[in-house]
């Protein structure tokens, strides 16, 4: 985490709610879920929608831990939670090998099997989830957007 001061709002009219940085390990996800829920509530989402948003973000972190870093101990995840007047934006930055978005295929709906649920939940819950160019070309930057209930579009 750099020591640079000054922020609170940043690019494109996005207001920063909070950022978190944590080791890419299964036992750290619970540390982030509570903050994520409170941030979603702060944006006016209902309790159950806030819980869904927590699930989507948790699933995206799990994918980074399991498929990106493949359990390597030194990996880390940066979570940035921002909002505009119309939507919640969640950004996940990692330093794992670059993901080919085409390799992420959620399961078929009528296919009852144990895996491939994570990316399916993310798409069901969020309005979008797209890989953006990472600031320095290394790793990945996944941006998930959820429009606020009652937002005009």
């Amino acid at each position: 985490m750099s020591d640079a001061p000054a922020m609170g709002t940043c690019d494109e009219g996005l207001e920063m709610l909070f950022e978190a940085r944590f080791p890419a390990r299964a036992d750290r996800l619970k540390l982030v879920r509570g903050s994520m829920w409170a941030a979603a509530r702060m944006c006016g989402f209902s309790d159950s929608m806030a819980q869904n948003i927590v699930l989507a973000v948790d699933e995206a972190c799990q994918n980074i831990i399991v498929h990106g870093y493949k359990g390597r101990e030194k990996g880390e995840i940066l979570l940035s939670v921002l909002r505009t007047s119309e939507a919640l934006h969640v950004r996940l930055r990692d330093f794992a090998p670059i993901v080919d978005p085409k390799s992420i295929r959620p399961r078929a709906l009528d296919d009852v099997k144990p895996g491939k649920l994570g990316s399916y939940f993310i798409r069901e819950i969020m309005d979008s989830a797209d890989y953006q160019p990472s600031p320095d070309g290394t790793g990945n930057l996944l941006e998930m957007i959820k429009r606020m209930e009652g937002a005009p579009w």
């Binding site: 996800l29 619970k30 159950s48 819980q51 948790d58 799990q62 399991v66 399916y120 939940f121």
Partner: protein
Amino acid sequence: MVNNPANQEPNVIRLKGDIDLEHSPGVRKSLLSAVQREGTLFVDLSDVTYIDSSGIACLVEALQVARADGSDLGLVSVSMQAMRVLELARLDMVFPIHDDLDAALSAKT
């Protein structure tokens, strides 16, 4: 996490806490060994505070093992969050779901 009071039906498994990437591997083992031991199983979710895809995957795997053996796996006291996740996964019609243990055990007989 798994929590089984001694005085409970042997084919009832009570999960508790967050069934997430951290705890699913342990839950998976308990469910699979219980299915193998008991056949038809009831999984009580009353004390589950959170469940994600890794937790759902354990339940689906145990269900499939049970059904391959002619047994079944029912869910009991499913919390709102867990029910929403099951619905998202379109699995709410796949598992037998019971309001409480009495309902589950009488449905069985």
